[in-house]
Amino acid sequence: MNHGPVLFLGLVTTLVASWTGFVALPHRQLGGLQPDISTNAAGAIVAYPAARSGEAAQGAEVYRSLGCVACHTQQVRPENGGGDIARGWAKRRTVARDHLFDSTVLLGSSRLGPDLANYGERLGTNSFPLVRLYDPPSAATNSTCAPVPFLFEQRPIRSSGPSPEALVLKGTAAPPVGSEVVPMLRARQLAAYLRSLGTSVELPEALLPLVEEANAPK
């Protein structure tokens, strides 16, 4: 007996079912997702998430092109599913809506480095320490983060004085006397992107913990 047609039809049916389950149905469920519109404490109507500013959006491309996703996830798991929230990475889990305006969604699958979904919020009011990109260990103990010195320029200090953007470097990472290390465009874009990462806005599908609201410091 020759099973050719049975085999073919059976395989096509199985594969199309899988396609329906993981491509068509998710598209139907999530394809029309919209930002959440709410009123903030000051009474203004705000939409979350909002598209990133130009510099941060370009930084997202830098983040993608350097393959940062190989070590950094951008997905905080729910409180009952791991230590992410207890570690202080974020106040709530990430949900589909958080990634609505990411041009490339980089959830990541490995945590050789810390999760960055809420990184900007973790920085608080501080600006992003660019030295983290140039010489990671000097900013975070034992960091094995891949340094990206090629996003910086080492140049002689100009007669008008040192650049306000120059990195404060110590030890072996410090440039020779008379030189300074300044970030180039892509380093600034990447910093703007990392600064923009935040998931602290409450959503109907991901509420913030009540305790945090009561003691909100700022």
């Binding site: 020759n2 598209h27 993608r64 202080g88 041009s103 980089l106 960091s143």
Partner: protein, 477 residues
């Protein structure tokens, strides 16, 4: 298309049209294996020596990681699997490969595109979708080429001699049907008209699982289903098990798409379905294992390199199947997900199961097609030995390291720098294992190159004569 009477398998296969494209696809893929492992090794070193070559943007860790995975999956595993799959279809169908010239040219294009693509990843950066890191335009070409090759596979199947089909054919056909579906879907939804938001991650996960479980795994199983009974000289235990194993594999494997998104920002039902499917994969793993294990006599194992690789592959298949089922449930993934543990499972799957299954075919088929044995008898022994040792160190270091990393990460009181510091030793061990493994693979490259040289030498002399002898009588004949 008219259907000529099927020609019987060639008695002297070195002359037959099946030979050249199969030798090209399988032999050429070994270069990708070495290139991919070289990139992997550098990436693995950089996991604990971040300052190594740090000033060169094109070898930054994230790019090396993506480039090495692409070179291995699209360069080595896919091409070796495809070459072998086509040979198996021709051999089991008692015919020859359809349109061997087009297969050969498609193979050339595939390699050219992939070379550009891997260079593109290093220079421009990966796409960010882990199952498809190549630059967009090249993905289009690669999709067209791979779809064409799959269609030619169907044409080969259509030419087969009348008679019942065998498990090897089922598995190759499943792979040839699955690849175009996954390739075209991911091309359209990730590259041409990118989906919004996390749909990208869902489709990326589905495509990644599809490439492993419905493209590479069926090709590997096809090889095992053919060579273990063929070389061992004993039939499969049960044709009914073969059927059940096949359909259960295809069905459950196709629903595992979101199994690596546990706790992620995707609807919970997808993850739940995928976990259930990953656990239920135990059913086909059991049927397939029962059919393949222990049917080849031990004496045959001593005689045949191919059979030894097949045995390693079958053992890894069973182990990785059980390991996946045990570690897929939500409670396990909450700890082990996003660590080095999935790396261990993936390595055991690719380098322990798929790779050795393909090498079993390679060691069995190439001598037939080239018309002569592999010149070095020690080389396959070194290849197998170093594969086992290297893989063992790799899988254990990633597995144990990932296990400890997972438990440390699950405890919110442990600071992240501490977690990372404790992982260091395991990452270093992993580099060691990878180095041993990669060194072992140079054995098969050297042996193949030597064989190629021996095959080309007889042609070399007359070709040289064309240039050295000036008289037309000498060259004319």
């Amino acid at each position: 298309m008219n259907r000529p009477a099927p020609t019987p398998a060639c008695a002297n296969p070195s002359c037959c049209a099946t030979g050249l494209p199969v030798l090209y696809l399988t032999g050429g893929s070994i270069l990708w294996l070495l290139a991919g492992l070289g990139l992997s090794l550098l990436a693995s070193l950089k996991q604990h020596q971040p300052w190594l070559l740090a000033s060169f943007e094109w070898v930054t860790y994230g790019r090396l990681d993506a480039a090495s995975r692409t070179a291995l999956v699209h360069g080595f595993f896919s091409q070796m699997g495809l070459g072998l799959g086509l040979w198996l279809l021709a051999r089991t169908g008692g015919t020859q490969i359809a349109a061997p010239g087009i297969v050969f040219i498609a193979g050339l294009v595939w390699n050219a595109v992939l070379t550009l693509g891997v260079a593109g990843i290093l220079v421009e950066g990966p796409s960010g979708h882990s199952s498809l890191e190549l630059p967009g335009q090249l993905v289009t070409v690669l999709t067209v080429v791979s779809t064409l090759l799959c269609l030619l596979g169907f044409a080969t199947f259509a030419k087969r001699a009348e008679g019942p089909t065998v498990p090897t054919q089922w598995f190759v056909l499943a792979a040839l049907l699955a690849l175009p579906l996954f390739a075209i879907t991911s091309l359209v939804t990730l590259s041409i008209f990118p989906e919004r938001g996390v749909l990208q991650a869902v489709i990326d996960g589905w495509n990644g699982q599809g490439l492993l479980l419905l493209w590479l795994a069926p090709l590997a199983l096809a090889s095992l289903y053919f060579f273990i009974p063929d070389i061992g000289g004993r039939p499969l235990r049960s044709p009914a098990f073969a059927k059940l194993g096949f359909w259960a594999w295809v069905f459950f494997a196709s629903w595992t798409g979101a199994s690596n998104l546990v706790g992620g920002p995707v609807p919970a039902w997808m993850v739940t379905v995928s976990i259930a499917a990953s656990v239920l994969l135990l059913i086909p793993v059991a049927f397939i294992s029962l059919n393949l294990h222990g049917i080849a006599p031990v004496s045959a194992l001593g005689r045949s390199t191919a059979l030894r690789f097949a045995a390693l592959s079958a053992i890894s298949f069973t182990v990785v199947g059980i390991l996946t089922a045990l570690t897929s449930p939500r409670c396990a993934q909450q700890v082990l997900g996003l660590t080095q543990f999935p790396v261990a499972v993936r390595e055991l799957f690719l380098f322990g199961f798929v790779g050795p299954a393909l090498f079993a075919g390679y060691y069995a088929v190439v001598p037939k097609l080239a018309g002569r044995e592999f010149p070095c008898r020690l080389s396959p022994v070194a290849h197998l030995g170093l594969t086992v040792i290297g893989l063992g160190i790799m899988v254990l270091s990633s597995g144990v390291g990932g296990w400890l990393q997972g438990w440390a990460l699950a405890d919110g009181k442990v600071g992240f720098p501490e977690v990372a510091a404790h992982l260091q030793i395991w990452l270093k061990l992993h580099t060691l294992g990878l180095a041993v493994f990669a060194f072992g693979q140079t054995a098969v490259l050297a042996n193949s190159a030597w064989l190629l040289l021996e095959c080309l030498l007889p042609f070399g002399k007359p070709a040289l004569a064309l240039f050295t002898e000036t008289s037309p009588a000498g060259a004319g004949k």
